[in-house]
């Protein structure tokens, strides 16, 4: 009977419009938080997403007409490294140590390739896709190496077709043994190197630190500076103007391609922020229309409401009755949005999995937090508007 008296406008099209706006607004809000969180997760998350090595940059001092040929002009001193550690956006700085001893590489099998090979090493934490057998001790004849993915690309797409050589997959490259001659003359040593991994972050050939240390000590040319000429840095947001300016003022060079993901991330941030703003606007409009609908319902039932209060129904009882009618509608829209977001996250994790990236299959805590906050605000506004409107009688 109370329903008959108080809920006379339940199936209005305005109500459905308000609920649809609320639902779309909430969904957009959750999705924008979800996208933002997923992108942060890809860049800074615990899971290794090595192809997004955008925040790892290899930098060197720019070689110019003035400093070329000048000894030690392009090496980093400790002061440079310390300054870089406190530079904007920089999270970690690693030294790239290169070999100061001669290395001559010869391809095993039928591949007629032989070349001088520059080797480098970086602290382990800067290696994306860390191979299991990434270790070497003096006495070992077998040497694990990581090569830049670009090397394989150059071989497969440029060198092999032009020379009539077979193209090689990553797996087949890992099976090829590479003979390394280290050192000169009688002291020369032979090692059997095998590729254990590929890196997107570093554009050279990496060996374990222990091997470089050993080689530099035993076969190193005396008088060569130990100071590094390249550094690897982990930057939080390389697209930050302050970071760019820092590199520019110090005349440091880096591969601008590495900033590609950062630019995409910047775009994603703009898009998610814009979606977020749009979502908040939609939610605001939806809430407003919904509350107006509630007030309209109460206004239409004004006569009944007054009479109910006169025959002894309490405002609290009537408010509770109305809240119990309207709240399930609000919670319904929230549940629909939640389901859409969960499905979207599941689909997104499936899509990025195909590209070798890892994302959780359920939305992360910021999505739940956004859901909790938006729902609480919505419930509070609806409850307040109902009790407020009934109290006016």
């Amino acid at each position: 009977m109370l329903k008959k008296l108080l809920m006379r406008t339940q199936h209005s099209s305005r109500l459905w419009a308000a609920l649809a706006a609320l639902c779309i607004g909430t969904t957009l809000l959750l999705l924008s938080v979800m996208i933002w969180w997923n992108f942060s997760e890809l860049l800074y998350g615990k899971n290794q997403n090595d192809t997004l090595g955008s925040t790892f940059l290899v930098i060197g001092k720019r070689v110019t007409e003035h400093n070329m040929g000048v000894a030690n002009a392009t090496v980093f001193q400790q002061a440079d490294i310390d300054s870089l550690r406190s530079a904007p956006q920089v999270q970690e700085v690693g030294v790239i140590t290169s070999n100061h001893f001669p290395v001559y590489a010869m391809m095993g099998g039928n591949l007629p390739l032989a070349t001088d090979l520059p080797l480098e090493c970086v602290p382990d934490k800067f290696i994306d896709n860390m191979p299991e057998d990434w270790q070497w001790q003096p006495g070992n004849r077998s040497l694990p190496i990581i090569v830049s993915s670009q090397f394989l690309d150059i071989y497969n797409y440029v060198f092999a077709p032009s020379q009539g050589l077979p193209q090689l997959s990553e797996t087949s490259v890992k099976m090829i043994a590479l003979n390394l001659k280290v050192g000169e003359g009688d002291k020369a040593e032979m090692f059997s190197a095998h590729v254990v991994g590929f890196s997107d972050r570093i554009g050279s050939v990496l060996v374990p630190q222990s091997f470089i240390d050993y080689g530099n000590k035993v076969h190193g040319k005396p008088g060569v500076s130990e100071a590094p000429s390249q550094l690897i840095i982990k930057a939080k947001d390389p697209s930050d103007v302050k970071f760019g300016n820092y590199l520019k003022t110090h005349d440091y060079a880096t591969n601008s391609q590495n900033l590609r993901w950062s630019k995409i991330r910047a775009i994603v941030q703009v898009v998610t922020s814009a979606t977020g703003v749009l979502a908040l606007l939609l939610m605001g409009i939806g809430t407003l229309v919904f509350i107006l609908f509630i007030e309209l319902t109460i206004a239409r039932a004004q006569h009944s409401l007054t009479l109910l209060l006169q025959v002894g129904y309490g405002p609290r009882y009537l408010s509770k009755f109305m809240i119990m009618r309207f709240l399930p509608m609000v919670l319904g829209t929230v549940i629909v949005s939640m389901i859409i977001t969960i499905v979207a996250q599941f689909v997104a994790s499936g899509i990025v999995k195909d590209q070798g990236l890892v994302l959780p299959s359920l939305p992360g805590w910021p999505v739940w937090a956004a859901l909790a906050v938006s729902t609480s605000i919505l419930v509070l506004l609806v409850t307040k508007s109902i009790s407020g409107a009934i109290k006016k009688h």
Binding site: M1, L2, K4, L5, S304, Q310, V311, G312, Y313, G314
Partner: protein
Amino acid sequence: MWNTSVSFNKGEYVFIQAPSGTGKTTLIHTLYGLRTDYEGEVKWNNKVLKTTDTETLAGMRATGISVIFQDMRLFPELTAWENIDIKRKLTNTVTEAQAHGWLDRLGLKDKKNSMGNTLSYGEQQRVAIVRALLQPFEWLLMDEPFSHLDHANANKAIELIAEVVKQQGAGMLLADLDENTYFPYTQTVKL
């Protein structure tokens, strides 16, 4: 009675006699807490009515003070029975069967399913009377409660009211135009 202090004690049968336009309805509405546009104080059990919040007021109306309005104030969109039942369910003091019995006693047996807005004034008044008796009360306020009833129907209503008021040990305050002997009044006040 205006500009003086008057008090009524529990169990009293008070008759307010006043010609038309002298404030009977104003008095009933004031006592029932519907009006606050007056000077002075109205107290129920020493509780100042003007400053009582709506929640407490609703509680008083549900379990302490009942009223028969002169203009009946039924829900026009509910049937006669629904008008009764919506009040009955609030406190469940009276059973459904008892409420049906009271409607039957007042000659409304065939009108239970008629909409409030299709009932005659006399029928509406009888529904309003039954509605006022469905709750626990210490005081029953009546504003010209039989103005639309013929003698026979008025007598049936008087009998029912007297019975329920006695049963509840309650007091009553009846405002009407002319002197009457509907109830054994203990106090008569002329406005």
